[in-house]
């Protein structure tokens, strides 16, 4: 066994390997160490056989690749479907890169970026042996237009493609009427965009481009058996109980993006969080699919026992916790009053409320978390030890014309204990600067449709501050920030730009990034957007979320896929 290599050497080695695009086929990799899977492949092996036992506290919104909006579901969908592109199967920041999957190469941009062309790999088949053609990809995207039937997935294609008011294939089954995608031949897919979109290759990695044969589509019921093109196929999915996959005999073995080491994959659904932890530590479970981290009890067991700790990872989940000040609600229409809150906030108190540095995360100063393309480290509102600076807050209050403070309301989700604790911590910190905030708790169910995401509600109830958490749909500055700070995304309900920030300069930067086909230029622009948004002072990021996750030492080829912030399940095997 060669995996006894020293960690430092192993780490360097892995980075070198992944840099040249390996993805770890051989026996190179890190040993089982705390946090080893964050940056290296743990237990690299080619041993085949075994069952991967996963569990989930929750359930899928839908296992239909075209109808899901959960990160773990996007990660997991790669088992049973191949999208045009995917995130590089590699640990560390290399995993943020897009590589072709169903396509032979990345998108070819023509017509000033308005046309994106992909060539499909030949010989890719559905699980029943039918060859995959460009029509199946076109159909897969077309059906996401039927929002009344498949409501869960993102709407980027609907928003970007030049398809008129195409209502989806259930009302208009003639695919020729769908002009957003053209299929000149069986292996060519041509996307027609309304406007250029530089990050298009990232969009193409969404499971919405996983081919769907029109003849087999049963609309909302397609999730009962999605046709696989990946290395595994769906055996059975029982909502709230289990999801079982087995080897796909018609998988294209020339596919180097995923492995087929396991015999079977067994996901138990709706399992108690504590029970997941117990089974993980007992070894009867390989990993928690959601990867949000273990509970308090298991956390103290893992951290106090070196034998357990070496099988645990503490990595960024890609989520940012923050709160915003609504610029349309007085006195936050005044930037100085917003700055007062920026300075008064005790981010360490919020961090402790969210579970501390390990279960909660690292104190945040930027909107982009570290694992996102475009991240730059800066802190515009520095306070001693990030614990708040009352003097500076009072200065800002005076500049705002409210030297004695003011009163406002904090909106949060009352069924989330950590958020409530954070709200109370914020309330305390603001009170020290003379800002009296009252907490308004609402159910998480309608948070973005009725409460924080409905500007009318915010204005009518005079809610100045609202808690918010965000994870990118794809790991670039555009994917993370656009829905949060682009003023043109503000809407009457389902609004995620809760602070109602609408700055022409920022909006223009998004357009500039979209039009650019130069990766370096785009990356630089994302950093500028982050800074410009922070200068406007209406968003207070406080935590780059982290979770303590546990991997069964029996699992092979384990690492954290940075794009999803959880283990890359498409690669794992069992010892």
């Amino acid at each position: 066994m060669r995996r006894k290599a020293a960690l430092a050497a192993g780490l360097a080695l892995v980075l070198a390997i992944t840099a040249c695009g390996g993805g770890g086929n051989g026996g190179n990799g890190g040993t089982a160490e705390f946090n080893a899977a964050d940056t290296s492949i743990v237990n690299a092996s080619t041993k085949a056989g075994g069952t991967l036992n996963l569990a989930l506290n929750d359930d899928w919104d839908s296992i239909d690749p075209g109808n899901t909006y959960y990160g773990f579901a996007w990660d997991f969908a790669r088992f049973y479907g191949r999208a045009l592109t995917m995130f590089k199967p590699a640990p560390g920041t290399a995993g943020l890169e897009v590589v072709p999957d169903l396509a032979t190469g990345l998108g070819e941009f023509t017509d000033g970026g308005r046309t994106v062309t992909y060539k499909l790999r030949p010989n890719v088949k559905f699980e029943d042996g039918t060859p995959v053609t460009s029509k199946d990809v076109k159909y897969a995207v077309a059906r996401t237009y039927a929002r009344d039937v498949l409501p869960n997935g993102p709407t980027y294609f609907v928003d970007l493609l030049d398809a008129g008011d195409y209502p989806g294939p259930y009302q208009q089954p003639d695919l020729n009427q769908f002009t957003g995608i053209q299929t000149p031949d069986d292996l060519t897919v041509v996307f027609k965009l309304k406007a250029p979109f530089g990050d298009f290759d990232y969009l193409a990695a969404n499971p919405q481009t996983i081919p769907v044969p029109q003849a087999k589509d049963t609309g909302a019921k397609y999730q009962e058996h999605p046709m696989s093109t990946g290395s595994y196929k769906v055996d059975s999915y029982v909502p709230g109980k289990e999801f079982i996959l087995s080897k796909n005999p018609n998988w294209d073995t020339s596919d180097t993006n995923r492995k087929q080491l396991l015999d079977k994959i067994d996901v138990k659904l709706k399992v108690n969080a504590e029970d997941i932890d117990n089974r993980l530590l007992a070894g009867s479970l390989d990993a928690d699919l959601a990867g949000t981290g273990v509970q308090a009890a298991a956390q103290s067991r893992i951290l106090s026992d070196p034998n357990l700790k070496k099988n645990a990872d503490n990595s960024f989940t890609g989520r940012l916790w923050f709160f915003v000040m609504d610029e349309k609600v007085a006195p936050f229409d005044n930037i100085e009053c917003r700055k007062a809150v920026q300075y008064a906030t005790d981010k360490v108190a919020l961090q402790t409320a969210f579970g501390g540095p390990i279960a909660g995360g690292e104190v945040a100063t930027t909107m982009l978390p570290p694992n996102i393309v475009g991240y730059q480290k800066f802190d515009l509102y520095q306070t001693p030890e990030a614990k708040g600076d009352i003097a500076k807050a009072k200065e800002a209050l005076a500049a705002c014309g409210m030297p004695n403070g003011f009163s406002t309301k904090i909106l949060l989700r009352s069924d989330r204990p950590k958020e409530v604790a954070a709200g109370e911590a914020l309330q305390q910190a603001l009170a020290k600067a003379g800002i009296q905030a009252e907490i308004t708790g609402v159910p998480s169910g309608g948070y973005f449709t009725r409460f924080a995401g409905a500007p009318e509600y915010m204005h009518a109830n005079n809610i100045g501050i609202a808690f918010h958490g965000w994870q990118a749909d794809w790991p670039t500055g555009y994917g993370f920030l656009q829905q949060l700070v682009d003023g043109r995304t503000i809407k009457a309900q389902g609004n995620t730009n809760v602070q109602e920030m609408d700055l022409p300069a920022i909006n223009a930067l998004f357009d500039k990034a979209a039009a650019s086909t130069d990766v370096a230029e785009r990356t630089a622009i994302y950093g500028q957007i982050d800074r410009a948004a922070m200068e406007h002072a209406s968003v207070v990021p406080f935590l780059y979320a982290k979770g303590l996750v546990y991997r069964n030492p029996q699992m092979t080829n384990v690492y954290i896929q940075y794009s999803y912030g959880i283990y890359d399940f498409s690669q794992v095997g069992k010892q």
């Binding site: 919104d61 929002r147 909302a220 019921k221 108690n272 029970d275 117990n278 169910g445 309900q493 389902g494």
Partner: protein, 330 residues
């Protein structure tokens, strides 16, 4: 008998109708009074990032643009006769009892709900067996040994039992006996695991009810023992044992049976607190999740099911009365 049954059934249906109306009112009228628009309601069905056109389409599809009375009528029709929903290429027939499709999961409510039934049944019935046996026997013994140390001790414990919130005893028992938590395993797949996991919830839930029933039984028993017919039976020279079992116990148990019917019916509709405390995936957990998600079809389904169990349980009790007490004429 027939007339009795018809009357009881009519009452049962009435209760179900009232329950559905109240639930409907809470979720449709109260939020609207609170300023929620139909658009916002529809937006919950559409998923993330809804556009106005999608909201309009959804409103029409679900009939949210129609008056509340019409919507309520459709809902009732779905339960009695099933309903049709359009799902992409096909129109899906949702067979009765159709409670519609969840806002969040887009899955029909009824099968998901039926899935939860075994968990709640296992919990409620297991606990009921324990509390009936222990509660009633302690109550009877206490009454017979009125004033003794046993009686006083039992009654103080019983009073403590009814004074302890179940979410506290539940957590306490978890911390003391099973810090790793319990996990429901279906009886059919692993009977031993089923029992060992449910043991703690059973005992915790049964403790509360046993305390209640011990107090009820004792009071009823003492009351009955002063009745004339008991004195007559004793005067007749009947053995004390027979007096107790034949006469006193039977008269005491009749009102207890009524309460038991109500209690078990309410529990079968979701032991909300017990299931929350032990994280058991039963109807009660489902209800809490549905309420937190503001998922109206789920909430309607679960409250209707809960009311249904209460109605059935009290019907069964009424029938049992006829057996237990010959004086009751049907």
């Amino acid at each position: 008998m027939a007339r009795f049954l018809v009357r009881r059934l009519a009452g049962a249906v009435l209760l179900l109708v009232i329950t559905s109306m109240v639930t409907f009112a809470i979720f449709f009228i109260v939020p609207r009074l609170a300023g929620q628009t139909v658009d916002q309601l529809a937006a919950q069905y559409v998923g993330k990032d809804p556009s106005q056109a999608e909201i309009e389409a959804t409103k029409e599809k679900l009939g949210l643009d129609k008056p509340i009375i019409v919507q309520y009528g459709q809902f009732i029709k779905g339960i009695v006769a099933g309903r049709e929903f359009s799902f992409g290429p096909d129109t899906e027939y949702c067979p009765p009892p159709c409670f519609g499709y969840s806002f969040k999961t887009q899955r029909p409510v009824w099968p998901d709900l039926v899935d939860r039934v075994p968990v709640t049944f296992s919990l409620a019935i297991g606990a009921a067996v324990i509390w009936l046996i222990t509660g009633v026997s302690i109550g009877v013994l206490s009454a017979l040994k009125k004033g003794t140390i046993f009686d006083r001790f039992a009654m103080v414990i019983a009073l403590a039992g009814v004074s302890l919130p179940i979410f506290f005893t539940g957590l306490l028992s978890l911390a003391l006996f099973r810090p790793t938590g319990v996990n429901y395993v279906p009886f059919t797949s692993d009977p031993l695991g089923w029992a060992s996991n449910l043991l703690l919830p059973w005992i915790t839930l049964a403790f509360l009810y046993a305390a209640l029933y011990a107090r009820l039984t004792r009071a009823g028993m003492l009351e009955t023992m002063t009745e004339d017919y008991i004195r007559t039976a004793r005067a007749k020279g009947l053995r004390e044992r027979k007096v107790v079992t034949r006469h006193a116990l039977r008269a005491t148990l009749t009102p207890i049976l009524t309460i038991f019917g109500l209690d078990i019916g309410l529990l079968l509709g979701g032991a909300v607190l017990t299931e929350s405390t032990f994280s058991l995936p039963g109807i009660g957990r489902y209800a809490i999740d549905a309420i937190n998600n503001q998922d109206l079809p789920q909430v309607l389904g679960v409250t209707m099911l809960a009311a249904f169990f209460v109605v059935v349980a009290s019907l069964v009790v009424d029938l049992l009365y006829a057996v237990a007490d010959p004086r009751v004429r049907l």
